[in-house]
Each structure stands twice: as C-alpha cells, then as structure tokens.
C-alpha cells in the first residue's frame, strides 16, 4: 500500500532542491534566508517523525524567525522573458494546456479508479489519503508530460517551482502553522470559553433568535478560529443541540448542514483561512494581502443571511 509517507519523502526532496538552488542564487540578496527557510521545510518532511515533539517545535521557531525577521527574499532563477513567452505561446499553441490539464485528469483517475483498487485484499493507495497521493502522482506525471511535450530544460521544474515558491514565500507555511495553533487552542479549551460566552449572554427564547445566533455564531467563531471544523462542535454543543434540536424540535440534518455552511461563509471572510484567502493573493502577486477576502465578503454576508432564513424555514417543517 502506498501511504502518505511517500508524498512526504517526495516533498522533502523537492524542498531540499529549492533550498540548494536558493543558496546558489547570486541574484538574491537574501539567498541564505531562503535556503534556510526551505531547508527547514525539507528537514520537516524528511525527518519530522524522528525529530521528536520538542525538535519539531524548535524547527517551527526557526521558520517563524526567518520569516518574522524579514530574512526571506525572492529568488531570481533565469527564466524566459515576456517577449520570449509570447513567441513560445504562438509556437506551442493549445499544446500548452496539456500538462496543466494532466493534473485534474490524473487526480480524478486516482480518486475514482485507483482508490478502490485492491490486490489480494490490500489497497494500492491508502484509502484515507487517496486525494493527496493522487495529487502528488499527478504532479510527477504532469512534469514528465511538460518536459517531453514542451522541450524545456531538465532543471526547469525545480528552478521554476522555486520561483513560484518564493512568490508565495512565508505565506506557504501559514496554513500549516494555523492548523498547529488550532491544536493549541483546543488544548487550552478556547472554543469552550467562547461557546459559553455566547450561550450565557444571549437570550434565545425565540426560535428565530436562536437560529440567527447559531448561524452567525458559526460564522463569527470561524472567523476567529480560521476553520469551520473548530467552530462546529462548540456551537452545536452550545446552541444547535440543546436549543434548536432538543428544545425547538429542529431537524438535525438541516441544522447541522446549514450550520456548517454558515461557518463556510465565515471562512470566506477571515485571513486565518490562509490557504484560501492569503496564499492566492501571494500567488497572483496582488499587493493587497486581503484583496481576495475583500472580493468575497459581498457574497459571504448575504449568503449568511440566506442561511439563517433557509434554516428557519427548512428545519422546522
């Protein structure tokens, strides 16, 4: 069975290559900062399970220090000029889309065909990790397709990958760091404290008020925690179950489902959901870190109100 550890080994090697190429990049004034940052990520992937908890903690401090003290620059690997790209685009035409579209095709193949595949009772892919495994497989195949079809230099996947990685920069590690912060919040019982605050101070005698508090609470709590999954157990244990379902007799499926989607409205509005909201701004080279969030708020807020109405109408049929 192929497990997630294979993806980690591959990631480790790729980040190690980014680190080495960064160190050799004379055009980047902060090249050793980049080398250290991506090097630490490589160590995490290759040896994270052997470092111990304290070792991993120190590694995270290292990442935060490199990023926090502004030691991270932007690599300048030799690449094609805008004019050359225009000419290449003319020459290759629609062939250029093939490697990029190989990714979704292989991911779909992995999830739909390889995931259920068994040999003598053993799964080919770890069924719980089929998506990341398929994505890694797709990434490798697509690189091969691109190199053959477009005849680019053999080193170009690593150099161009490093260029994009530096474009994302420290933001690349933020989602993982926030997930770790979520674990600390859980350990300290932060969710419970907030849930108690909400249920203690807001009267919920009327059904509509209770629905509104639950939905808005899911969104608000998700904004604070960055993750609807963290908000759901707290808000549902505090309001959803005792009040909406038990006191007012609401349909649990409707309450839970629309409650979670109210949380997703919150996800659209928080910088703490970094992989959805901040990483894209970096990837698209937008000067305003919050540009994507600002475009999402006018959809998220009315949708949140729609959710309140939907739950009120559908849960108590």
């Amino acid at each position: 069975m192929i497990k997630l550890s294979a993806v980690y080994a591959l990631s480790g090697l790729v980040f190690a290559a980014f680190a080495v190429l960064s160190a050799m990049d004379a055009n980047n004034r902060k090249r050793f900062g980049n080398a250290a940052f991506w090097g630490l990520v490589a160590v995490s992937y290759l040896a994270g399970d052997r470092l111990g908890d304290l070792g991993n903690g120190v590694l995270v401090l290292g990442l935060a220090a490199v990023a926090g003290f502004g030691l991270l620059g932007r690599g300048q690997p030799a690449t094609t000029s805008p004019e050359e790209r225009k000419a290449l685009a003319e020459r290759f035409g629609e062939k250029l889309f093939i490697p990029a579209l190989t990714l979704p095709v292989v991911v779909a193949f992995g999830v739909l065909v390889l995931k259920p595949l068994e040999f003598g009772g053993a799964h080919l892919l770890d069924p719980k990790q089929a998506t990341p495994l398929s994505l890694a497989l797709a990434a490798v195949i697509a690189v091969g397709v691109a190199l053959i079809l477009l005849r680019q230099p053999l080193i170009s996947p690593l150099q161009e990958g490093r260029r994009l990685m530096d474009t994302v920069g420290w933001a690349a590690l933020l989602p993982q760091m926030l997930a770790a912060l979520g674990a600390i919040f859980a350990l300290a019982g932060v969710g419970q404290v907030i849930g108690d605050l909400v249920t203690t101070w807001i009267p919920m005698d009327a059904r509509l008020t209770a629905v509104a508090v639950y939905c808005l609470g899911m969104a608000g709590f998700t904004i604070i925690m960055g993750n609807a999954f963290a908000a759901f157990p707290v808000m549902t244990a505090g309001i959803g179950l005792p009040i909406l379902i038990h006191k007012f007799g609401g349909d649990p499926a409707v309450v839970a489902s629309i409650g979670m989607l109210s949380g997703f409205c919150g996800t659209l509005m928080t910088p703490l959901a970094a992989n959805f909201n901040l990483v894209p701004a970096a990837l698209l080279e937008l000067p305003d870190r919050y540009a994507v969030i600002k475009k999402q708020i006018p959809t998220a807020l009315p949708l949140l109100i729609v959710n309140v109405v939907l739950m009120y109408v559908l849960a108590f049929r």
Binding site: L51, T79, P157, I184, G189, A274, L283
Partner: protein, 222 residues
C-alpha cells in the same frame, strides 16, 4: 477567560500586519501559558501539531509543473485564447468556472482545480484576457480586481459544492459529532440539505460577477 488572550493576539497581530508566522507563534505561547502549560510543553505541543499537519503544505508539489508551463508561455496563451472568442465576457466566463467548480466538488473532485494549479496559470489570465478583449490594456487596479475575483470565485465554488459530496471531511465530522450526541444520521441527508445553500451561493455570486462585468465595461466606456 485568560485563554482568550491568544485570540486577541491573533486579531491584533493580523490587523497591524505583523508577519503572520510570528503572530501565530506568539499566539500559541500566549494561549498555552495562559492555560497553565510551561513554555517547553507549549513548544512540544506546537511542534507535534505542526508535524501532524504536514499534508497541508504538500499541495505545493504542483508548483514545478505550473512553473514549467508558465515558462513556455501558458499564461500568454490563455490570455490570447479567450480574446479570440469575442462573445465571451469576463462575467459569464467566471460564472462558467463557478458552475464547473461547484459541480465537480459536489462529485468529490475537490482537488482537480485550485489557486496554484488552475487559477494562476489559466483562469486568472483568461479572465484578464476577456476584459482586455473588450476594453483594451488593463489598468493595474482592474488587473488586480480581476485576479482577486477569479480566486474568490474558485473558493466560493469549492466551499458551496463540496458539502454535497457525502464523503467529504465536513460531512464526516458532522456525522461523527451527532453520533456521539446520540443522533444517528445518514451522510446523504446532510449532503442533501447542502443543496439549497449551494444554489443560493451560485445565484448570489453569479449576480455579483455580472455586476462586476458591467462595472468594468462602464468604466472603460466612460
């Protein structure tokens, strides 16, 4: 109550735009210490959770291939390709992408598109190209607005499609949570009740995309 200091640290740190990695690390210590842990215990818990969440960052494995096709001119091609379809305006184009993202996510194919693998190399350049074909050279502000809108559309399509699929993480979480509270529920029921919100999200965001389109055309005409 003291544990909420960590949340406050995050809010203030992000608001004043300190480096978020530093903010998150400080918040972890503030929260842990307020909860009575020693600094070493906080560091251990933080490191352990970081290590367990490595799959989050492994998604960047798609960057090498995206970089290679960009080197060979994919963005330029995507931009000029859309310009050849004179009838396609940015609003309907992004509405089409929204529908694609919602429908495929509803089938469980959440990872076949995304910001790194489709928005940056294809969707954003095509959206820019669609605007360019009608209004000529883009101002920096319009370019940034169009890109941000493309990313926002990807997120909205993903979020309000994935919950219709019965084996997605959030559905499993809900089933598990309700089961421990003594309520047995079929995943199918949860995913069915995600459909009304999904439709509302489509209508709302599609409407906004049409308004966005019209605003760009007006400002170009003026």
């Amino acid at each position: 109550m003291l544990t909420l200091l960590g949340v406050a640290t995050v809010v203030v740190g992000f608001a004043v735009r300190l480096n978020p990695l530093l903010v998150v690390t400080i918040a972890a210590f503030v929260t842990g210490l307020a909860a009575g842990l020693t600094p070493v215990e906080v560091l251990e818990a933080f490191g352990k959770a970081f290590n367990e969440n490595r799959f989050v960052t492994a998604a960047y494995l798609v960057l090498p291939v995206i970089g290679v096709v960009e080197r060979a001119g994919l963005q330029e091609r995507a931009r000029s390709l859309i310009g050849r379809f004179k009838g396609v305006s940015v609003g309907p184009f992004l509405i089409g992408y929204l529908a694609f993202r919602q429908l495929t996510s509803a089938l469980g194919l959440t990872s076949i598109a995304g910001h790194a693998q489709s928005v940056r190399p294809m969707v954003a350049p095509m959206a820019e190209g669609a605007v360019e074909a009608r209004t000529g050279e883009l101002s920096d502000q319009t370019r940034q607005d169009t890109r941000a809108m493309a990313s926002a559309t990807d997120n909205i399509g993903l979020f309000f499609g994935e919950d219709i699929f019965i084996a997605i993480g959030s559905i499993l979480l809900m089933v598990g949570f309700l089961a421990t509270s003594g309520i047995a529920i079929e995943p199918l029921h949860l995913s069915m009740w995600a459909i009304p919100t999904a439709l509302a999200a489509f209508v709302l965001h599609a409407g906004r995309l049409l308004l966005f389109d019209r605003k760009l055309r007006r400002s170009a005409g003026a």
